[in-house]
């Protein structure tokens, strides 16, 4: 598949990247690993005038520990991050979601920043231009109807990131740098819950850091897929337990991951959160498994995750 025409620019600093973004009047995309972006451009879902490569920006790479937090550079590849000695011992939920992401080769190229900021997916959206033209453009492509649920005015595309939910259960924050300076927000605030534009990031803003409290936790990540490798989650459940409370995040259904908190960890609370998350999940026929099965699996995976944590096991 041939790429459409665009310019390529490599930025050395965040400021340079943003200058380039402005120079092209925002008709630009930022490139990190490219494992999500390049297929989207190939399918003509994005047609930028310029691709701005962020891999030359040193300050966006690497993991460092400060007094009580872990600061992750968004250009760190998923594979590097997975092998970082702190991750497996202290943040097992994140380790498991990194391990479950796609496959080793793509983990070596894909970055944590790009993985968090991947576009939402839908069986009606991630298709070639010819296919989409024949079918008629949906809401996410600028059309007037959703091709999955024709009476709906909102987009049901699924956020399929594996790592954002586990980072959310670990109380991660995102530091963004934009034309008006820096801002730090809780990771869940990055999501707009609108499938058409899934992130509440301002034009030109760059994810600069992911900041995690550095504390020993217990956790697991459970993922429903058809194949054992390469697949996106059809449902993903991240659970992190700290002291006597827990956080649960559900991904793979709808435009943003959903976060739940448990103040106590007993059978009743676990069943309640499983029922609640299952009730909350509104899958539609836009993935390779049926909506009713995916909905039911939300509860199943949450209970399974807590069972695994209780037995001290992992994947």
């Amino acid at each position: 598949m041939i790429l459409p025409k665009f310019d390529y620019k490599k930025a050395r600093t965040v400021e340079e990247a943003q200058e380039l973004y402005n120079k092209y009047n925002g008709n630009a995309v930022y490139l990190a690993g490219g494992t999500d972006l390049v297929p989207l451009i190939k399918l003509r879902l994005f047609q930028p005038q310029v691709v701005i490569d962020l891999k030359g920006i040193d300050e966006l790479t690497g993991v460092r520990k400060t007094n009580n937090s872990l600061v992750i550079g968004p250009n760190t590849t998923l594979f590097e991050l997975k092998q970082h000695p702190f991750i497996k011992d202290y943040l097992p939920c994140l380790f498991e979601s990194l391990e479950a992401t796609s496959c080793e080769t793509l983990q070596m190229r894909g970055t944590i920043g790009g993985n968090i900021l991947q576009n939402t997916r839908c069986l009606q959206y991630n298709k070639s231009l010819e296919w989409r033209t024949a079918r008629g453009f949906c809401l996410k492509m600028g059309g007037s109807v959703c091709n999955v649920a024709p009476n709906s005015k909102s987009c049901f595309s699924n956020y399929c990131g594996d790592n954002a939910p586990s980072l959310m259960t670990l109380d991660a924050k995102a530091k963004l740098v934009g034309p008006k300076g820096e801002r730090t927000v809780r990771l869940e605030k990055l999501f707009s819950d609108d499938g058409r534009a899934p992130f509440s990031i301002k034009p030109g803003e760059i994810l600069k850091e992911i900041i995690l409290p550095f504390k020993k936790t217990k956790g697991v990540y459970e993922k429903l897929t058809v194949r054992g490798s390469i697949d996106y989650p059809l449902v993903g459940v991240a659970v992190t337990v700290k002291n006597n409370d827990a956080k649960v995040a559900v991904t793979g259904i709808g435009p943003s991951p959903r976060l739940y908190e448990l103040k106590e960890i007993d059978e009743k609370s676990i069943n309640d959160v499983a029922d609640w998350a299952c009730e909350d999940a509104k899958p539609v026929s836009n993935a390779v498994l049926t909506p009713s099965y995916r909905k039911k699996m939300v509860g199943v995976l949450i209970k399974r995750a807590f069972k695994k944590i209780a037995s001290g096991g992992s994947r």
Binding site: M1, I2, L3, P4, K5, F6, D7, Y8, K10, L31, G34, T35, V38, P39, K42, L43, V51, D53, K55, C103, E104, T105, L106, M108, R109, G228, S229, I230
Partner: protein, 156 residues
């Protein structure tokens, strides 16, 4: 669009090229350098048929823009043999019959080579995990795993 000058070291040969900014590494290898070992299959990064090594790391060359890898060392399946002597992995794939239609083979071998370069004696589960990056539509995985195991057993 202005072309971009890139310097690549491909299979131990320094090459200077003027490439299009939207040209993938796979296109450069196949169409400019006639290195047709890496295959285009899904073109979206799912299958791994286009896997080559960039500075020793396996990558999907269909997802990489050639200007991104300016200055890098690229190894393709054509660069594995030592003069006329096949690489042990190529030999083991032949011996074990790990090739059916052969379309996935270059990608499989490059992925396996990267594994053996970082871990000389991988366990079977590590081989399976690594190989699961690539798709073999003939589903001949068992023989492929055996071939990689064979090399890991016999290597020093």
């Amino acid at each position: 669009m202005k072309t971009i000058k890139v310097t690549l070291n491909v299979n131990n040969e320094k090459i200077i090229l003027q490439v299009k900014p939207y040209e993938t590494l796979l296109e450069t290898l196949r169409e400019r350098l006639s290195l047709t070992g890496a295959k285009e299959s899904c073109s979206l990064g799912s299958c791994g048929a286009c896997t080559v090594l960039v500075n020793g790391t396996p990558v999907r060359s269909c997802l990489i823009l050639t200007p991104e890898v300016d200055g890098a060392t690229i190894t393709t399946i054509e660069g594995l043999k030592d003069k006329e002597k096949l690489h042990p992995l190529q030999h083991a794939f032949m011996e074990k019959g790990a090739v059916q239609c052969g379309f996935c083979t270059p990608g499989m071998i490059m992925t396996a080579k990267a594994l053996l370069d970082r871990n000389k004696k991988p366990e079977k589960k590590d081989i399976i995990k690594t190989i699961s990056s690539n798709i073999c539509r003939c589903t001949g995985y068992k023989k492929i795993i055996e071939a990689v195991e064979e090399v890991s057993k016999t290597s020093g």
